[in-house]
């Protein structure tokens, strides 16, 4: 029961503090820009008499690019909205009146986590849906394996959310933000090193990427999502800048799930045992 009360209040907080609406407004601005670009692209396709195959591949690349931006926005949204919820409330003392209620601490933390999950699910669904709706209406294409890609993008945000929660039970808001963004940055860089390693067939560079993914599997989830959503031709020919050359395996997805679970358990244990 306490879980759902806290989930509800966390979701309402995001809405009342206008976090969700501002993020959706920024997302709306992005979708407008994206639609405008796609509109001119489609017009040029007609003018240049481009072949349908090429036109379709470019449209696919546009979808992937749009989703790539959505992924970046979702990562930022996840970290920036959740860094203050635990450490901030502990530092300000807001948590004291809550934690003295007849609700176990683990329920308070899990409730907040569910609240953020709900908000992020709504945000990612709206943004991914928006990108696909725009490309479908203007170019007649949507991401391939959309549900699979969407699930992986969602999971990336939930991994980052759980890591943010775990750090927030140990550190201040600022330190939590620096650590989580730093870890994701490491994974992001590792992902690109792995891609270049795969392109140049440098196995040691690929290994660097894999190690980065083990330290933080968030970026690996995006790369797998991109692989699932790109066109079959792009996958085969590696013609798009977002084509995934070194595809994270299913084992890596499973590892990310375990990583998420461990981060959440660490957060719950630490929050239940620390002084408030």
């Amino acid at each position: 029961m306490g879980v759902w009360i806290m989930a509800g209040v966390t979701f309402r907080e995001a809405a009342r503090k206008k976090m969700l609406w501002m993020a959706l407004a920024a997302g709306g601005a992005f979708l407008t820009l994206f639609a405008t670009g796609l509109h001119f692209q489609a017009k040029d396709f007609a003018t240049h008499g481009m072949s349908p195959v090429l036109r379709r591949e470019i449209s696919f690349a546009m979808v992937t690019m749009g989703l790539y931006v959505v992924d970046l926005l979702a990562v930022l949204m996840t970290i920036l909205t959740s860094i203050d919820t635990l450490s901030g409330e502990i530092a300000s003392g807001t948590i004291q009146a809550i934690a003295t209620k007849p609700i176990p601490r683990w329920q308070l933390l899990l409730g907040k986590w569910f609240g953020f999950c709900a908000m992020l699910t709504a945000y990612i669904a709206i943004m991914v849906g928006g990108v696909n709706a725009v490309t479908y209406s203007m170019a007649g294409v949507t991401a391939r394996h959309l549900a699979r890609g969407l699930s992986l993008m969602w999971m990336e945000s939930i991994v980052l959310l759980s890591v943010t929660f775990a750090f927030a039970t140990y550190f201040s808001t600022l330190t939590t933000g620096v650590l989580t963004l730093g870890l994701h940055g490491l994974a992001f860089l590792g992902g690109w090193i792995e891609q270049f390693g795969a392109l140049t067939q440098t196995s040691r560079a690929v290994n660097v990427g894999v190690i980065a993914s083990i330290l933080m599997p968030s970026e690996a989830l995006w790369r797998r999502a991109a692989f699932e959503m790109q066109s079959p031709l792009a996958s085969a020919m590696r013609i798009s800048p977002f084509s995934t050359l070194s595809v994270p395996s299913s084992a890596m997805i499973f590892y990310a799930l375990v990583y998420l679970a461990i981060a959440l358990i660490v957060a719950i244990r630490r929050f239940s045992q620390r002084d408030l």
Binding site: S92, G93, Q96, A97, T100, P102, I103, L276
Partner: protein
Amino acid sequence: MEMTRSSDLAIRARGLRKVFNGKMAVRNLTLDVPRGEVFGFLGPNGAGKSTSVKMLLGLVFPTSGEAEILGRPVGDVKTRSKVGFLPEHFRFYDWLTPAELLKLHGRLHGMSHARLRERVPVLLDLVGLTPHRDKRLRDFSKGMLQRIGLAQALLNEPDLIFLDEPTSGLDPVGRRLVRDIIRAQHDLGATVLLNSHLLGEVEITCNRVAFIKDGEVVETRQLDDDNEEQTIVSIRAAKVTAETARGLSRWSQSVRVEGERLKLSVSSGAVVPEIVHYLVTTGAEVYEVTPQRLSLEERFIEIVGADGGM
């Protein structure tokens, strides 16, 4: 026997100790607060009062020692439904209205919607916030926040209420309101632990008070029994021998003799006739005896020092 005694106590603490990163916050808190008592917690800044309250509420985990509230070990989740708490640094979700805040806390207490529909307007009225019920808390003054915090602490009709500096930020009318609420809760049979710097407030409101210094209770004092009051006795008497003066130590550890003037501190005014009788029987000529109750403020300064323990 022990079980029966424990069940009569709202708070029972034995040797509670808290060390934060090598720094001693509470050295040794041993305390019994019977049910139905308004108990004051007094001490200088940094004496460990708030940390003690937080340990009793399960917010801070003690380094050693044990405590029970309402007969159950500290940290027992179910017991919390009978406990109210107003924190010292009172912060809430400022995007809520006062009615929404009370409903949220009521839900966390497991109260039904129907019960909350009854209880919330009553409490808003009690703390004088009915005219502000639709304002957001971010637009509240410190005093108004303190009032809604107090309402929150009373929401579940608690058996035990912890009030950590409840009158800070309140004007005289607000302070009067807090006093009235504490009295009303006392009449209802609730136990109140009042942590306050305002000695006057404590003196008016509490049945008993504990002085805490360097994380330790150094003295507890009954406030609602005149005979139990710490008293300074000034005596003017002639022919008091050194041996007679030494004999006064059975009533007081602090005896000062300056010529015909004797000054001693006794734990109760009730012993004054005994002292006079003793002096007369030892051959002293007693001209004047003035018992003076030691005010809480004087006792506080005597215990913590004029520098406030800094």
